[in-house]
Amino acid sequence: MLEIKNLHASVDGGREILKGVSLTVRAGEVHAIMGPNGSGKSTLAGILAGRDGYDITRGSVIYDGRDLLAMSPEDRARAGIFLAFQYPVEIPGVNNMYFLRVALNAGRKARGEPELDAGQFLKTVRNKLKLLEIDDDLLQRGVNVGFSGGEKKRNEIFQMAMLEPRLAILDETDSGLDIDALRVVANGINRLRAPNRAIVMITHYQRLLDHVAPDFVHVLSEGRIVRSGDKSLAAELEKTGYAGVGV
């Protein structure tokens, strides 16, 4: 589904952050990318979603046979890529429900599916809301406006549930969550695991992985994947720290 080959990237005109990342993700798999601060985790997530401000100097990213890096952010999203933001943006004046409906229908339209009317949309919302234990009234506000840190993260996973992506990239989704919120969010992610969907979790800590068991764990350090393994690698990291695995 996703094939990253020898990806080199720097911040616009600045220093190199990714120094040859290669990674293959197949449908149905859950990958965890771990690494210390500054290792390039969020840069990788941003590049996959199409955030600007990066120079790709070498390498390629192929998604479903297409050159991902040549696609606009909206085309990537419509093709099934979803980024759960580390810092979800507050958008005063743009109603959550309206935003979600426009987003959902943009994707449906691009795939040649009929757009959902208000009634159908509302029904879908009700079903997915339960999954994330989100209050109805949060949806009537501006996007993320007045949400607590935990509510913002839950809203990201709720959006993921609504948009049903094929490849979800979760950037530090566990950061800033208390234990109850972490359980709810992890629960939501687990419910969204599916044979036709891949999930890439980017995280600094092991704790999300206690709730969502990955198939593969990669350690990113100084812009390279220095180790890959199964979920036991995460446990090892927890015990020895990044230094213990040679980072």
Partner: protein, 396 residues
């Protein structure tokens, strides 16, 4: 009498109307004299330094025509809503209040010109305790030439009303309106204006409002049309009165608009909220001038002014000039101004959810603009303003 060059063409067409009452003929003559002696404001005049009057000075307008339509809905007893022409005949004692000292003094040349020349306008007057619901509406569509409209809104104590003015038209013309507003003790007026004039038009609007104790005056302006436009709102507070002034201006091409508001706190305990939002595309220009004057003795004044503008093009520009003159010591006054483009991170967030860049920009601009109308109480009126904004955005 010395006559300024740019004023001369308007003097030539001035014709006293023998059928009018003596007080009006007298006022018109004084206002005319004040205008021709003063001429147009110059750019050295602080309040006019951002408004380019060149097109108007170069090409004087003949007296023109427009169609004034009043939509009263169902008027309760104690409400008068009629044209100025009719009011002058049937209720001259009310109509008289439409002209004030400042029209005759010449400090506001276009108001003086208006007093000398106006043929019509609208009048809304409510007796004590009368509530007008739903809103009354005025639509003016201009045809050609210069059109001077003299409007009057008088709310007796404890009355309430919402009034919506809309200006439109086709061709090259100049609409010049002056509206005198008086809000009685404990009365409440919501005053909405949509300026949607044709692309070659010039539009000037002047509102002078006087508030009695505990009165509420909310003024919402949406500026979309005209090649050159200017909206002046001048408010004099009463004790403990409340003023909410909000405006949004959306301009493109080579449109130029100015919002100039002056709020005078001479009485204690009054509150002012100002929020102006500008969206400027292509080569358009916008200006916001906001004066808040807090006189000695106007203690416990609470005033806040905010002006924000989005520049959507490198060639668009905005001038902002806040001015707080505070002579009382126990007051709360704040102002803030910001100019920028749409937030990149927010735009990316929307795009990362599959929303195309044009749609994403429209959503964000609309949200930015509509903040100015959040305090409009009637949801259908808010919806109407939002719809006008959307039409503008989709015409890009």
């Amino acid at each position: 009498m010395a006559v300024k060059t740019e004023a001369a063409p308007y003097l030539d067409v001035f014709r006293p109307n023998a059928g009018e009452p003596a007080w009006l003929r007298d006022a018109r003559a004084k206002a005319r004299d004040a205008f021709v002696a003063r001429g147009f404001p110059s750019r050295r005049d602080e309040a006019w330094r951002f408004t380019n009057l060149r097109p108007l000075a170069d090409k004087p307008f003949e007296p023109g025509h427009g169609k004034l339509e009043l939509k009263p809905g169902s008027l309760p007893k104690g409400a008068w809503f009629a044209s100025m022409a009719r009011t002058l005949i049937e209720k001259p004692e009310i109509a008289r209040r439409a002209i004030g000292e400042s029209d005759l003094a010449g400090g506001q040349p276009f108001a003086s010109l208006n007093a000398a020349m106006f043929a019509d306008g609208f009048v809304l007057a409510l007796d004590e305790g009368v509530t007008l619901d739903p809103p009354v509406e005025i639509v003016h569509s201009a045809g050609d030439g210069s059109i001077n409209l003299r409007n009057l809104i008088v709310l007796a104590p404890s009355s309430r009303a919402t009034i919506v003015e809309r200006y439109c038209g086709e061709g090259a013309y100049w609409t010049n309106t002056v509206t005198t507003v008086s809000v009685g003790a404990g009365a409440s007026l919501t005053h909405v204006k949509v300026q949607d004039e044709g692309p070659e038009a010039i539009h000037f609007g002047m509102v002078r409002a006087a508030l009695e104790p505990a009165a509420t005056y909310r003024n919402f302006g949406l500026t979309l049309g005209a090649n050159l436009s200017r909206q002046d709102v001048q408010v004099a507070h009463g004790i403990g009165s409340i003023v909410d002034l909000a405006g949004a201006y959306l301009q493109r091409g080579d449109q130029d608009t100015t919002n100039a508001v002056v709020v005078d706190h001479a009485a204690p305990g009054a509150t002012t909220r100002e929020l102006f939002k500008g969206v400027l595309d292509k080569r358009s220009h916008g200006a916001f001038l906001g004066t808040i004057r807090v006189r000695e003795g106007a203690q416990k004044t609470d005033a806040k002014q905010t002006s924000r503008a989005l520049l959507l093009s490198d060639r668009a520009s905005v001038d902002t000039k806040p001015e707080l003159e505070i002579l009382a010591d126990d007051v709360k006054c704040a102002h803030g101004a910001a100019v920028g483009d749409l937030d990149k991170d927010t735009l990316f967030y929307l795009r990362a959810r599959g929303i195309g860049i044009d749609e994403a920009r429209r959503m964000l601009i609309e949200a930015f603009v509509l903040e100015a109308f959040e305090t409009v109480e009637q949801p259908e009126l808010r919806g109407h303003l939002a719809a006008r904004v959307r039409v503008w955005l989709e015409a890009a």
